[in-house]
Amino acid sequence: MKKKKLVLKEIFLKDERYRTSYYFSLEKLKHSLKEVELLHPPLIALRNDRFVLVSGWKRVLACAELSFSYVPVLITEEMDDLKTFLMAFYENLATREFSLLEKAEILTRLKRFGEDEKRIIRHYMPLLDIPATLPYLDTYLAFSQFEPEVKKAIYEKNMSFLSVRPLVEFSSREREWLLPLLLPLGQNKRKQLLEDILGVSRKNDIPVQKILLSPEVRAIQESGTLTPLQKADSIRLLLRKKRYPAFSSMQDSFESLLRKIDWPDEIAINPSPFFEEENFTVTFDFENEKQLKSSLLKLEELSARKDFSKIFKLK
């Protein structure tokens, strides 16, 4: 390994064969570089008479933004791509956590550079805290094929594996359509929306595009009064009803019954999850005996109302 001071422009940044990090902020690093310059030289490999960056992408890009002319580098004489890549991999493994997308890129590079698939599963995936199974490998490899806008959204929203996983089931085009709907939602709702739209599409054999262009969805999309979050949430609820019609209908009947008997907000009443059992749960808060008695009297009064018994006959 040779240490050298290299003209920054001589580093051939178009060759990204070893690159696994794409989405990051350079601000803190730039600040540090202004104060103390570059202390840890990036790793370079010589390929076809060009200096190809192996590791240190953040450092080099930050130097470029600060218009540094020269950077100190380490040049490896290793010619094998896999062995070269592993230098960068192990260097990073020891010093930092990898993001979801970086893990995807690492596994893709290992495969591309000819590492045995079984060794990737057995050896590298545990190092990356990924369950050592083939389906997980395939899923991560699929993540690395996502479109740049999708990857950017995953990075910016810090999406978890579970909320990204359903995206694999969609085509590139479909992901493009879905992205604006997903961005305003939180992790759980995002996952739910993806699973529900996939379920509705597969069950009824309707393309995702057709669902998204249906008059009901378009009416929500074109609403002038709803915020992006409200639009996304309304579409999510619409899809939920399509995916779970019987459950949604019972839920609606339950809620409508509560409205009919004027059930107070301060006393919560909930059916068993998904109405799987016939019991209901009532909860309320109280700070003293008087409040407790008042709520109990209210409950007694509510249970005597004409429509209350219908709660036990919901079908």
């Binding site: 698939e117 389906p135 995916r243 019609p245 999850p273 998904f274 799987e276």
Partner: protein, 375 residues
Amino acid sequence: MPHLKFVPRKIFIDKECRDMPLTKRILKNLGQVPTEMVSDSQSFLEERRISRDAIRQGKKDLFITSQKGEFIKPCPCTPRYLGCNYFIINLDLNCPLDCSYCILQHYLYDPILIVHANLDDLWKQLDAFIDKNKGRSFRIGTGELGDSLVLDHITENSKDLISYFRGKGPVLFELKTKTVNIQNILETEPASNIVVSWSLNSPRVARSEEANAPAVEERIDAARRVADKGFFVGFHFDPLIRYPACEEEYESVIERLLKMVSPKKIAWISLGSLRFPPSLKQIIQERFPWTQIIYEEMIKGLDGKLRYFRPSRLNLYKRIIRCIKENGGEKVPLYLCMESETIWRDALGWVPRGKESLESYLSSPPGNFESMNAS
């Protein structure tokens, strides 16, 4: 057309088992099938686990090894639903049939057909187990982690098992299958505490979701022949799968079944609806991309498994139970697999009082069911 019997592509033999009588019998029955000795079974299995298409490939090969742990285990059932105190014998693991909904795709760690050859240990463990539970009537069977008969032309295990359990009433031994591999059964003298049972479904589900399994009519015909031989038979409509007009198709199967097989020879009929852990959904999606069964309306049950919404399950059970009763099966013991007390009460009109009540209801010597007094 007669259904083809399974022949493995290759037999792998754990070197510790090469001289065991069952290994020799399998090799004799399989003639020309290539074999390979395995000296390190852990590495062998590990290698297969991470192979591409491991589940499908695993259904093609046979691994003869020994059961290192307990052969007999209580059926795990599922948390927060009623169990039936069934005991399972883990003799063969996995299955060459390829049903899309099969829980073994998720449940079994080793994706290869496994035959445990250390039968001497099985008999010893069974002796001890029966001795420990002396006087108790319980059901025990081999068909939970594999099909009881699909390898029977190769292993001939049914002969040994029937011979072992003969006269051991009140223990009821069940061989559960989807196949018509009944030659050994037909050559064996029946015993009153042996039940041969079939998993049945609608012809449409059998065709689309139960790859390599014989048609439903063939299964019913096999059951008739076994019942005619003098054995008691059982039927498991499990998993019931919902699709438009499924009720009518299930009813047709029941009508046919009760015409072909005398209800007096039926030890029990069980019903269960499709349910699976959420992680199986992805496996089904990947292995059977054409199947629609995972896209029906399913909710997360009390045990965390996906299952049909309660009113949908209940309606299906009620239709089937009514059909069984209207077609001469009013005295056939019926039970629900992994269902809630609510569903038991609404579908069957009674709820077992704890595990023992159900065990007693289902374990009485077949033929004496009339005397059972279910609460």
